[in-house]
């Protein structure tokens, strides 16, 4: 399966710009023959939107943007980050979600499980944590979608009790797609690589990692998106601090044959 990672600079609240950017990169990716196109966490509204998430109109704009983007997904599958409404009747009003768009429709919404609420993060201020896991079949491949922090517990993180990557593996995932909004710090690139490599090794799965670039007030996003193979090696890394498209072909046969052993 040919996968495109779109590493872009999103502007908080600027739905017109963000949507246009996403759609233009979908078109570019289609021209490159990509079958799955991945965008970052909360790409539609920018990160972090903070208390804008408390505005109904802001959320409606997010949902409208997702619909508009869905229309351009004929023949491809797109994963885009946006909030979604919590319709369970209890808990916070929103989920931090990854929308799977295919052939003009929303085929699946995956919600973030581990909500960072420390240092500059306060996601539990706005979002309800996900409690159940599922995988998505894309072009015949079982895809496990994890959002940013979801990969930061494989059992040793005292902040959390759930281990999304392991759950997704249990359900038969053959690849993990990690969409993120991970701010820069001196050590962050190395820490990210260590944590994701740990996930690869524990699940024996490759990871597709997509981050933001740009800066929002105090937070700098360095990008550093990559494809990581199942042994935890970065197979291909995108530049830092640049908008770009990274394309790689996931060897589905290799994934399947590994399973047969």
């Amino acid at each position: 399966m040919k996968i495109a990672i779109a590493q872009l600079n999103f502007h908080v609240g600027n739905f017109k710009l963000n949507t246009e950017k996403i759609i233009s990169y979908i078109e570019r990716s289609k021209k490159e023959g990509a079958e799955l196109i991945v965008f970052s966490e909360l790409s539609v509204c920018g990160y972090p939107p903070r208390d804008f998430l408390e505005f109904n109109d802001f959320i409606n704009s997010c949902l409208e943007s997702v619909s508009e983007i869905a229309k351009t997904t004929k023949g491809v599958t797109v994963i885009v980050g946006a909030p979604s409404m919590n319709e369970t009747g209890h808990g916070k009003p929103l989920f931090n979600s990854a929308y799977v768009l295919e052939d003009g429709k929303i085929v699946k919404v995956i919600n973030k499980t581990l909500l960072p609420t420390y240092d500059i993060f306060d996601e539990y201020r706005y979002f309800e944590p996900n409690r159940s896991f599922e995988i998505v079949k894309i072009k015949g491949v079982n895809v496990g979608i994890a959002i940013c922090e979801d990969l930061w517990n494989t059992g040793d993180n005292p902040l959390y009790t759930k281990t999304p990557a392991l759950e997704l593996k249990e359900l038969g995932a053959e690849v993990i797609v990690n969409i993120a909004a991970s701010p820069f710090s001196y050590k962050q690139d190395q820490e990210r690589k260590d944590v994701l490599a740990d996930n690869c090794v524990k699940t024996d799965l490759p990871i597709v990692y997509c981050n933001h670039i740009g800066a929002q007030t105090e937070l700098i996003f360095d990008g550093g998106s990559f494809f990581m193979d199942r042994s935890g090696e970065v197979a291909e890394q995108e530049s830092f601090f640049k908008e770009c498209l990274l394309i790689n072909t996931l060897d589905v046969k290799q994934v399947h044959s590994k399973k047969e052993q």
Partner: protein, 251 residues
């Protein structure tokens, strides 16, 4: 642009990020500025190829003094007079900003912000604190890095003892320990969340620990009025570090 290392590094970084033609330096020497400082600042701007203006502040300061004399009478020169100079500079910089539309870049570093060594509404003004998450010792490293290929920042700016130049012969070392020691303690306190007892266990002098912690705690109120700081470490002042103003956490 004081001729000091913080404004020099900020200026150089801004020029790199935005282009020399898009940054604008303002030199505001007083009777307490050394000649070096003005020359160093001018050299830096010339090296970078960026425009600058010079505004002397002595006359403005004298006017302030004269107007305050009936109230201050014969009280000795002190903090008020030092801060007057800093705030005059703040006013001038903001006036330029309002007139021409430029963003004012705050040049405070993390060590200074930690111990409250800046002047509210003076050198603490600005729209963005570029070096606010960079310790003083790291500012020196950055300066050396910027000068890797050629001397952009005048050597004198880097080697002279840090000084606020708000009174005769003033040096940072008058009120602060050596930055090598200070920055290590700050790192343990801010980034590693070591409390007073743990700092002493780590080997820092007890008296120094209390002195510095007191400065850090007392000056939380200043950090509430600081421009946004570009976060480059794991724990920057700003939205990621929320402390109360009214507190007393010492040995």
């Amino acid at each position: 642009m004081s001729g000091g290392i913080d404004s020099a590094v900020t200026f150089a970084l801004a020029a790199r990020a935005l282009g020399s033609e898009n940054v604008y330096g303002i030199l505001m020497p007083s009777q307490y500025s050394s000649d070096h400082s003005v020359d160093d600042a001018k050299s830096l701007a010339d090296n970078i190829g960026a425009p600058y203006e010079l505004i002397e502040i002595e006359k403005i300061y004298n006017t302030f003094e004269a107007q305050l004399k009936p109230i201050f009478k014969d009280l000795p020169f002190g903090l008020a007079e030092e801060n007057l100079q800093a705030r005059i500079r703040g006013v001038l910089v903001m006036a330029n900003s309002n007139k021409f539309g430029h963003i004012v870049l705050n040049t405070s570093n993390k060590s200074e912000a930690a111990v409250g060594y800046g002047t509210l509404y003076g050198d603490m003004c600005g729209g963005l604190a570029v070096l606010g998450d960079v310790y003083k010792t790291e500012v020196f490293e950055l300066a050396r890095y910027i000068n890797k290929e050629e001397e952009v920042i005048p050597e004198n700016t880097i080697v002279k003892p840090p000084s606020a130049e708000l009174r005769p012969d003033q040096k940072d070392s008058d009120s602060l320990p050596d930055y090598d020691i200070l920055d290590e303690m700050l790192f343990e306190y801010i980034e590693n969340r070591k409390g007073p007892r743990e700092l002493v266990e780590l080997g820092f002098d007890e008296v120094l620990v209390n002195k510095i912690l007191r400065m850090i705690n007392l000056n939380e109120y200043k950090r509430y009025q600081t421009p946004p700081i570009l976060r480059v470490s794991h724990k920057a002042f700003g939205m990621g570090r929320r402390m109360p103003i009214v507190a007393k956490y010492l040995l």
